[in-house]
């Protein structure tokens, strides 16, 4: 069976046995999502490349880090990319001055948006659901969520930037997460 017809779990199993073709297929499936996420967080192409590079290399070198019992591969891998991107942002203080477009919700215009090229249909449908769910959030909740997730900022820093009490940041964060939880659970049922 061609690699492109294998599901993520089988690809991961083969990757764990050292099959580079399985790695390449996972890269084809998730490279664009990973790079788009990393670029959104870091705002710099070179840093985003490093984040994606490190994440895929970690997958190759330690495939056992993915435990299928804990959820799907996409969830695992994009979480890994997010964690690495957040670590990168926090380590590189100079990124605090990154260009505004990195935290802009609008798609970047000078990059090759690859949604229709590599995405599995499920990811594409889920992306639509996530974006619709985000529109249900009040602006102040969405702002806090985006600063935390895509800005890689701590709650303390968010409170400083928005000049609001830390307790308000916590309350808005939880409210946003609960609302997304409810909306996304409904949509996946």
């Amino acid at each position: 069976m061609p690699y492109m017809d294998l599901d993520d779990l089988e690809l991961h199993r083969r990757l764990s046995q050292g099959e580079q073709e399985a790695f390449d297929e996972l890269y084809r499936r998730y490279g664009a999502a990973a790079y788009g996420l990393a670029l959104r967080l870091t705002g710099q192409q070179l840093l985003a490349q490093d984040v994606v590079h490190d994440a895929f290399l970690a997958l190759w070198r330690a495939p056992q880090a993915f435990d299928p019992a804990r959820g799907g591969f996409r969830t695992f891998f994009l979480s890994l990319v997010h964690h690495r991107a957040v670590d990168t942002i926090r380590r590189e203080e100079r990124l605090r001055k990154r260009q505004e477009r990195a935290s802009n919700l609008e798609p970047t215009v000078d990059e090759d948006v690859a949604e229709d090229v590599v995405e599995a249909s499920f990811a594409g449908q889920r992306r639509k659901e996530v974006r619709e769910a985000l529109t249900t959030l009040p602006p102040e909740q969405r702002q806090v969520l985006e600063l935390a997730y895509f800005g890689g900022k701590t709650q303390v820093r968010i409170a400083e930037e928005l000049q609001i009490p830390i307790g308000t940041v916590k309350t808005r964060t939880m409210a946003a997460m609960q609302k997304l939880r409810n909306v996304l659970q409904e949509e996946s049922e």
Partner: protein, 236 residues
């Protein structure tokens, strides 16, 4: 702390947006409360799924063509899976290392330290849930163990860095007769965190000892005792 405050912490934890005291409080919560609270477990799982889904809000962008060839150049053959017979995993930091019988296990790098910690915490919590394990303070560390189970965990937050040239040693102290058994050495990371997962047949051992040892030298006998565990439980 009430449940609302706990779930606020869990929301921040899932987004990786906690720092300072909140991060420490979340770590404690994850070990001391969440394993026994089905409501918080469900909430944490749900928040982590939401966090993962948020990644999809970023537009997919084709990586540069040079990235995959760069990966191919650096991939090389996968390292053989190590199967140490005694200490099987270390999750801590750049500096963390456990040596035993020629094995030197290190995990991580600065960039994936948080991920490694999260993975370790997840495994420890799964173990605690599955085995209804006890959580016993050992100095600034916590031991997670269950009677009759040969797997257990030790982790610590805010563990002080040993003096220059020294490292922490982990020993199994026998009930009587034979010599203390050196299990390995470790260092907390920059945040004072370390985590160890051990496979240890508890038969014949009374307790664990954490000592200070000379770095880079395999000790013949325990050095200065820093912390001592409760007696190892050998039967259910």
């Amino acid at each position: 702390m009430n449940h609302e405050a706990m779930q606020e912490l869990l929301a921040g934890y899932a987004l990786r947006s906690l720092s300072g005291e909140d991060a420490a409080a979340a770590d404690r919560l994850l070990v001391e409360h969440v394993p026994g609270c089905s409501d918080c477990r469900r909430t944490l799982d749900a928040f982590q799924l939401v966090s993962a889904d948020l990644a999809l809000d970023a537009d997919p962008i084709t990586p540069p063509e040079t990235l995959l060839p760069r990966l191919h150049r650096e991939m090389g053959p996968q390292a053989r899976r190590r199967r140490p017979v005694y200490l099987v995993a270390v999750a801590a930091s750049v500096a963390a290392a456990v040596t035993l019988g020629g094995f030197a296990l290190t995990e991580g790098g600065r960039a994936n330290r948080a991920q490694t910690q999260a993975d370790f915490t997840r495994k420890a919590l799964d173990f605690a849930r599955t085995h209804n394990a006890d959580m016993t303070p050992v100095g600034p560390t916590t031991e997670i163990s269950s009677p009759g189970v040969r797997e257990f965990y030790i982790y610590g937050n805010d563990v002080p860095t040993p003096a220059p040239g020294l490292t922490y040693g982990l020993w199994a102290i026998p009930i009587q007769g034979s010599q203390a058994r050196f299990l390995g050495d470790f260092m907390p990371d920059d945040d004072g965190y370390f985590g160890l997962r051990l496979l240890l047949d508890p038969t014949g051992y009374d307790h664990l000892l954490i000592t200070e040892e000379q770095a880079g030298i395999r000790p013949a006998a325990p050095g200065a005792t820093k912390w001592e565990s409760a007696p190892v439980t050998t039967a259910a």
